[in-house]
Amino acid sequence: MANSTLTKKRSTAYGSTVALKSAMAVSGVVLVLYLIAHMYGNLKVFAGQEAFDGYAEGLRDLGYPLLPHEGFLWIVRVVLLASILIHIYSAAVLTIRARKARGHRYAVTKRVQRSYASYTMRWGGVLIALFVVFHILHLTTNTIAPGGKSDSAYERLVNGFQPEYWYVTLFYVASVIAVGFHLRHGIWSGMATLGLNKAPRQGKINGVAVAIALIVTVGFLLPPMAVTFGLVS
């Protein structure tokens, strides 16, 4: 609520909205880099079962003997989990703040220039979070196995996206598109939050955001589409 005098509740800015946004931006950068690496791995599916499963097995022994078997993988998992938790926590706190900041809503609202991507960040994020849970149960732990369980990552992929499981593919496609929109505004916004969006650079940052969003979306859509349409079996 507005005060009549200057109050001094907080003297450091570590808990400020800007600090929270920065935590969201940094964790977002980690997640984007992971997505690009993950997409690269997925595209190995076009090199055949041996290459794909070999790559998956290779990841388990990356850094061996310096790291134990699956050591690298577990480091990545811990970093990712921490990033996701920080990302969701700061998003939740900032969303609650924003709701509170506009206690009374407008009777008429109009979008002046903001993009579709920018106003679907929150619900898009919720969809992505749900998808990630499903995705791990489906293709990592194989707890949910629409086309039958398998020890081969390649077979899990091929079994999961057969035409008769179109609803799995549909959910996957919708989620990947949501990721694309999330990246399109997220990369731009994250760079602004980290203080990089000087006016002369804005065009480039916007271009990079659109390019990464498109590449990641297409890169993730190709393997399941190829399976559904029988190009990979």
Partner: protein, 248 residues
């Protein structure tokens, strides 16, 4: 022109408020939006009704006193202040919805008038320099690169109208705060307190219950003074720098 106005009426801070409809006939397209409201108020006064309260002062777009949300857009369909908006921007027979700035940090005082004291308190927290007063220094005493001087001046044109907060989906006051931080941060006189300033101003901003910025850019799009969106990026960089140097 004949128009129908839907105006937010609220008797006082504690009143719940409601939308009221008024018909206005013979509105000249050359009237400013505020003159049109004056005509409405004359009519209401003659009918023994309470006139619609709205803020205004200079009526030439330089003071920042006026400002209402018109059909969902802060200051209406043109990128200018409400006083510089003319009825020719609307069509005969239009229904125009007029609402006050909506933000928890800007409580409604009456009808379309909001209390923007939260902006004053952000300035009070750090939007100043503690330079000793005295005679004006020599014009060449502090060399300032032209682009820096221009950027400081562009940021300093902020009139504090609050349209940025009104247009922001998060009701964030970040563009206003960023304009002040940029204006002082670009100049040599602003350097000694640069780190402390951004921390104090952001803390006051948050404490006033403004929301956080999501870099959507609605603020800069409606700003009558064209404050650039990248001032927010500069503010973020200043704050992170301040935290990094242990001054946060």
């Amino acid at each position: 022109m004949n128009i129908t106005l839907r105006v937010w009426r609220q008797k006082g801070r504690d009143d719940k408020g409601r939308m009221a409809s008024y018909e206005l006939t013979d509105v000249s397209p050359d009237m400013s939006f505020l003159e049109m409201l004056d005509v409405l108020n004359e009519k209401l006064t003659l009918e023994n009704e309470d006139p619609v309260a709205f803020d205004h002062d200079c009526r030439e777009g330089i003071c920042g006193a006026c400002g209402v949300v018109i059909d969902g857009e802060a200051h209406g369909p043109e990128t200018t202040t409400t006083c510089q908006l003319h009825m020719r921007s609307f069509n005969d027979g239009d229904t125009i919805t007029v609402e006050p700035w909506r933000a928890t940090a800007f409580p409604v005082v009456k009808d379309l008038v909001v209390d923007r004291g939260s902006f004053d308190r952000i300035i009070q927290a750090g939007g100043y320099i503690s330079a000793p007063t005295g005679t004006a220094p020599d014009a060449h005493a502090n060399p300032i690169p032209k682009p820096d001087a221009d950027r400081a001046f562009d940021a300093a044109t902020c009139i504090g109208c609050g349209a940025c907060v009104a247009a922001c989906p998060n009701a964030s006051g970040m563009l206003f705060t960023a304009a002040k931080v940029t204006h002082l941060g670009m100049l040599p006189q602003g350097q000694p307190e640069r780190d402390a300033r951004v921390v104090k101003m952001i803390n006051q901003h948050d404490e006033e219950d403004f929301g956080g910025c999501t870099n959507i850019g609605e603020c800069a799009a409606v700003c009558p003074k064209g404050i650039p969106l990248d001032t927010i990026s500069q503010l973020n960089r200043d704050l992170l720098g301040s935290l990094g140097r242990g001054n946060g």
